[in-house]
């Protein structure tokens, strides 16, 4: 603490240069916070995937439907504890910008497989007994001000009704919570029976199956057994763990992790040279002053520590500012990625990167001071 004025004086020796360096690091960390934040949200969702659930999709393509008749066949296989199905409905509410993650399901089969979705029993019963009933995540209900008893029209970009209309009406009969997975609290579930009866094509099919296995260790064997069961049929299947399924779904949008890593790699590589050059220049200009410190009795270690501390303060202050700005902007992405807060692990990682940046940029000039000859430096040689 007593070295703070000395540290501060070193940093503010060239005020303009320090401010511009600080700003460039801030911008880099805003970018880091936003990109890494999005990446982390996807990864957190993947990590939250259950280990005892499998997803069965068409081998041809994720978008191809599977026959409804597979349900009973999958259920009969050894190691299977439960089966449900889900389909992609593809809808928006009032405006195409208001995309809604909506899925027709059989509530009796579906909800027992997802204990993380907390829906009161009476609301589940209401969904089962109401043909046009729907249950929505609390976040989604909050977003559009929906409450139980509301009638909500959704426009499907895929499914038309037999009467040619793409507008589907639903009655909200329940609101579920998903305390451990905010992504799930933005979905819209309704009765498959209503969907299948009313749609104009592909009747008797589902989007994919969800299979709960009795023993997670045997998940791969069960997956292989399912695919074997439907091998050489008209609708061959591809069974994956929930995590693999989510990964392949996300990769439909591109390899986010690779894109994020590439962009951030380029940004920080440039920043390394920029900040490193600034630190090197700053130390070079202060050689006589550092020689005076050594004359007064500061050891090589103390001078190295002082320079590293300068680099650390600059890097950490800028990183925290950048991450704070990113955290401020992040809620704006809620409608796209379903998460309103910058994940804490991104902040921790950012601080780690800032420390690494400080060490990489501070160590070379700091190390140079250990070879500084006091007499030559004081004589300006």
């Amino acid at each position: 603490m007593k070295f703070l004025p000395l540290l501060w004086a070193g940093l503010w020796r060239k005020r303009t240069r320090t401010i511009f360096t600080l700003l460039s690091i801030v911008v880099a960390f805003v970018l880091f916070g936003m990109l890494q934040g999005v990446n982390a949200v996807f990864n957190n969702a993947l990590n939250a995937s259950a280990v005892d659930r499998l997803n069965v999709v068409s081998r041809i393509s994720f978008t191809e439907s599977l026959p409804f008749s597979y349900l009973a066949q999958i259920q009969s296989l050894p190691g299977v504890a439960g089966v449900a199905h889900q389909s992609w409905f593809g809808t928006y509410y009032q405006d195409p910008k208001n995309f809604v993650f909506s899925f027709p399901v059989d509530p009796v089969l579906f909800f027992p497989l997802y204990p993380e979705l907390q829906l009161p029993q009476d609301q589940l019963a209401a969904l089962v007994s109401t043909r046009t009933g729907a249950v929505v995540g609390r976040e989604l209900a909050k977003k559009y001000g929906w409450k139980i008893g509301d009638r909500v029209p959704l426009h499907s970009v895929i499914w038309t009704q037999a009467n040619g209309s793409s507008d589907w009406n639903f009655d909200i009969v329940g609101i579920y919570d998903a305390p451990n997975d905010p992504n799930q609290a933005v979905s819209f579930f309704f009765n498959y029976s209503y969907f299948d009866e009313a749609r104009s094509f592909s009747k008797g099919t589902v989007g994919w199956y969800i299979v709960k296995v009795k023993d997670p260790k045997a998940a791969m064997q069960v997956a292989a057994a399912i695919d074997k069961r439907f091998a050489n049929s008209a609708d061959e299947t591809k069974t994956q763990t929930e995590k693999e399924f989510a990964q392949s779904f996300i990769k439909q949008q591109g390899d986010i992790s690779f894109i994020v890593t590439s962009i951030l790699g380029a940004v920080f590589f440039t920043l390394l040279f920029l900040t490193g050059n600034t630190m090197m220049q700053s130390v070079r200009e202060r050689v006589p002053e550092l020689a005076v410190l050594k004359t007064l009795g500061f050891t090589d270690g103390a001078v190295v520590a002082l320079i590293l501390a300068e680099a650390l303060v600059l890097s950490l202050v800028a990183a925290l500012l950048g991450l704070a700005i990113a955290a401020g902007i992040f809620p704006a992405l809620k409608s796209i990625i379903g998460e309103a807060r910058l994940p804490a692990n991104v902040v921790s990682l950012g601080i780690g990167v800032a420390v690494l940046l400080a060490l990489c940029t501070g160590l070379p000039p700091a190390w140079r001071t250990t070879r500084l000859n006091i007499i030559d430096a004081l004589a300006g040689r």
Partner: protein, 229 residues
């Protein structure tokens, strides 16, 4: 009177590229505690090299340097730095103050290496400022002070940790006569009132006249010595 500095058979050679130049040749010197010594001589005579050896900024090629009872030529880099912090106060021709720090922060620098509390450090800094007559300039930066005032700040910095000896390299070389006399008078007062051992390198006879003893360094040897008091 006990000897505070003892140099025995000192040889100092500098090597620049393939050339080796011997700056000090088998030099012997003893300085008693409490002395005000002036080292005089022409440029390149080796007087600053001699001062650097006494102050622990440089090491001899041969010979023994004992200062304040310690063989400093045998100390490691870190130990020598700690020894300097404890025993030596330095005053330079061009003051060598930190431009971004105020006078009081500059003076406080050597105290940062001690275990003193903040309050104790402030107290010592205030006392040093009082001694050099700059109590009203504590919050001024070097650029806001005259040359003489900056040198007073440098003396206060040299004094503040209560060193065993003060080592001054051309302390008045950049000052006008009047200011130079004030600075030398201050060093003389410190020597007489606080019994500080002061070693001054100068080529100015008037500056040397403030000392109690004058030694002449010429071509790397002590060629002339005169006790004036």
């Amino acid at each position: 009177m006990p000897m505070i500095v003892s140099l025995k058979n000192i040889v100092k050679r500098y090597t620049r590229g393939k050339q080796s130049v011997e700056v000090l040749h088998h030099l012997n010197l003893e300085i008693p505690q409490g002395e005000f010594l002036a080292l005089m001589g022409p440029s390149g005579s080796g007087k600053t090299t001699l001062l650097n050896l006494i102050g622990g900024l440089d090491r001899p090629t041969e010979g023994e340097v004992t200062v304040a009872g310690e063989r400093i030529d045998r100390l490691s880099g870190g130990a020598l730095a700690r020894w300097r912090a404890r025993h030596v106060g330095f005053v330079f021709q061009f003051y060598n103050l930190m431009p971004m720090l105020t006078a009081e922060r500059n003076i406080e620098l050597p105290l940062l290496l001690t275990q003193l509390s903040r309050a104790e450090r402030r107290q010592n800094v205030a006392a040093a400022l009082e001694i050099v007559g700059l109590a009203d300039r504590a919050r001024h930066k070097p650029s806001e002070l005259s040359g003489g005032q900056q040198q007073r700040v440098a003396i206060a910095r040299a004094l503040v940790a209560d060193p065993t000896l003060l080592v001054c390299d051309e302390p008045t070389g950049d000052l006008d006569r009047t200011t130079a006399d004030e600075i030398l008078g201050l060093l003389q007062t410190l020597n007489r009132a606080q019994h500080k051992t002061v070693i001054v390198v100068t080529h100015d006879q008037k500056a040397a006249d403030f000392a109690s003893r004058q030694l002449h360094v010429d071509k790397g040897t002590l060629t002339d010595a005169a006790s004036l008091s």
